[in-house]
């Protein structure tokens, strides 16, 4: 074990702060995290701010402004291990819906002085701008997985974050399939596991918060959604949700738009 505690920095980009809250929600483990790491930057938790370089940087949010492009490059230069946390940082997030439209139209609608807004036409994941060492999915990500990734970093091992479908979580939990049993459209078969089986265990179809699983077959699932009575608009919305900019979900939504 190194004598010096590794320096951990948490950075916010374009996001709702929910991922940082997921980290703060790891109540039981928070003390252990603070004990094993030097919390160098974590504005949601403390105003204290230590200078780089950092051993681990956790990035929340997507890149949606020219300034953020510069910032992420700067953070990358100062960080040994870079973790992209959550749907925004790993896939552009829900705000990547702008990528399907002309963003100037939104600016005129939303802001009284759109000329004050300096934004990019797209919202993109960290990996589009800098090399990322680990991507942790989810909107929001699971606190358990956050602790697992930090723990694995400390132990120098590979984190247990499987790329298989949400269906595995249903079957392990004994959750009766809402699609087979209820005819409810469920994104689970094309969505990566990890949330803890939140929606299906409560009788809801999966919303795809964790993005595409390792080998998604979106066209087959979309065709089945059609058989369940979903029209093109419904199917488009199912795939254009929290992870609309991922290759598999983007391509499928475009087939229905």
């Amino acid at each position: 074990m190194p004598a010096r505690k590794p320096k951990l920095a948490v950075w916010k980009f374009t996001s709702c702060d929910g991922c940082q809250l997921s980290l703060l929600d790891c109540e039981d483990d928070l003390l252990a995290i603070a004990d094993r790491f030097e919390i160098a930057v974590f504005l949601e938790a403390t105003r204290h701010r230590a200078r780089g370089p950092y051993d681990v940087s956790v990035l929340e949010g997507s890149v949606s402004t020219p300034h953020e492009v510069e910032r992420v490059r700067d953070i990358r230069r100062q960080s040994k291990f870079l973790i992209a946390l959550g749907a925004c940082a790993t896939a552009g997030g829900i705000q990547a819906l702008r990528n399907f439209r002309d963003v100037r139209g939104f600016l005129d609608l939303v802001y009284a002085r759109p000329d004050h807004i300096d934004t990019l036409p797209t919202s993109t994941p960290m990996a589009d701008h800098v090399p990322v060492d680990f991507e942790l999915r989810g909107c929001p990500p699971s606190g358990k997985q956050i602790v697992e990734v930090l723990g694995a970093y400390l132990a120098g091992r590979k984190p247990v974050v499987p790329g298989h479908s949400q269906c595995v979580e249903c079957k392990v939990a004994g959750t009766v399939c809402v699609m087979v049993n209820g005819g409810i459209p469920c994104m689970g078969p094309v969505t990566q596991a990890g949330c803890g089986n939140l929606c299906p265990s409560r009788g809801r179809g999966c919303y795809g918060c964790f993005g595409p699983m390792e080998t998604p077959n979106a066209p087959s699932l979309a065709a089945w959604f059609g058989r369940l009575g979903q029209d093109s608009r419904d199917i488009l919305r199912l795939f254009r949700n929290y992870n609309p900019e991922t290759a598999a979900f983007r391509a499928e939504s475009e087939r229905h738009g």
Partner: protein, 368 residues
């Protein structure tokens, strides 16, 4: 069925009470939401009475029926596998002690023994398959501990479902070996009884406590006829020569066709009552003082399953679908001297896109 005995429908609650009093955790078909699953049975009211299941590829629905039968539903999503081969279980944990560590192994010995009531013939056959898998060259101590202590009251089917094909796999509908007690439920006019046969000493002792009377010749004949009739009502069939055709055609274009539909979601393997694959996950606390090894169900449909140095061997959906169906129907024979499929039809109903093992086998056989 010569030594068969008969007890009244009203005695079933007493059977549950006796088992509970003996310290068993009683498991049987019970309603959960809009489905029938294996679940805890505290008394007679917990059985899913007056309900039948309607199944198709990718579809499972319940329907209320005016029928007093207790065991009228066919296979649901879960099976005995959920209990005997736990979906996720800790194998051992280790704690740091100064310069070394202390190891503690988990066993299933502290759990209450299981008593299953209402196990269909196919599910009993599946327990037999897993007995051979987990009791073979490399015995699984947790499975074997639970299995040795478990008591099984099987039930011969009175109806077959639309996705059932046990008759063509030899998995049913007659109850095979492995049970402690086998029941046939007879409902006829105002009469509602169970014809019971014993499969073990334990089953015989249990039956005696219900004060049954000997079965009449007519009751035995009626029980036989009921089960026999179910054979003709199977919704599906595994074609003769299907397994051989699968083995002989590893490069068949059908594998690519089915891969277009398959989601590689793992559902077929995880609802299968005989699939036995698992993976190991290590969990360590942040303080680095304690570590645990857990076993979790895995499936040949995941990429990690065939991951070796340098990548996954089965990258395509075609190769993964072929692995599953070939193992179930063909290479299981080489490995365990029996079929890995009992014909329960779960993989058909619980496949989110209704892919049908009997249809795939037929397509490949017919193309020859």
């Amino acid at each position: 069925m010569d030594a068969a005995a008969v007890f009244e429908r009203t005695e079933l609650g007493r059977l549950v009470a006796i088992l509970a009093a003996d310290g068993y955790r009683v498991i049987g078909p019970t309603r959960r939401g809009t489905a029938i699953v294996y679940g805890d049975i505290a008394g007679d009211a917990d059985f899913a009475i007056g309900l039948i299941d309607e199944q198709e590829g990718g579809t499972y629905r319940l329907r209320e029926v005016d029928d007093p039968r207790v065991f009228n539903a066919t296979a649901g999503q879960t099976s005995c596998r959920q209990y005997l081969f736990a979906p996720r279980q800790r194998l051992w944990s280790a704690e740091r002690t100064g310069t070394g560590f202390r190891l503690a192994e988990d066993s299933a010995g502290a759990e209450p023994p299981l008593a299953f009531i209402g196990v269909r013939a196919c599910d009993l056959a599946a327990v037999g398959v897993q007995d051979r898998v987990f009791g073979g060259h490399y015995p699984d101590p947790r499975y074997m501990m639970r299995r040795r202590r478990a008591l099984i009251v099987a039930v011969a089917c009175a109806r077959a479902g639309n996705t059932c094909f046990c008759a063509s796999m030899g998995g049913g509908p007659e109850v095979g070996p492995g049970h402690d007690l086998a029941l046939t439920e007879l409902v006829d006019g105002g009469r509602h009884v169970f014809v019971a046969e014993t499969g073990s000493e334990r089953g015989a002792l249990l039956l005696a406590r219900l004060d049954p009377r000997p079965a009449t010749g007519a009751e035995i004949a009626a029980a036989r006829a009921q089960t026999e009739a179910v054979k003709g009502r199977m919704g599906r069939e595994m074609v003769a020569g299907g397994p051989e055709a699968i083995r002989a055609n590893p490069e068949h274009p059908r594998w690519h066709e089915v891969a277009g539909r398959c989601l590689t979601c793992t559902n077929c393997t995880l609802v299968c009552p005989t699939c036995f694959c698992s993976t190991a996950e290590d969990v360590a606390d942040l303080g680095n003082a304690r570590t645990e090894r857990w076993q979790r169900w895995d499936s040949c449909f995941t990429l990690d399953f065939s991951y070796i140095h340098g990548g996954s061997v089965r990258k395509t959906a075609a190769s993964r679908y072929r692995q599953w169906i070939t193992h179930k129907l063909s290479t299981w024979w080489d490995q365990f001297g029996m079929s890995g499929c009992v014909g329960c039809g779960r993989c058909i109903a619980w496949c989110p896109v209704g892919i049908d093992i009997t249809e795939e086998a037929r397509a490949i056989r017919d193309s020859q």
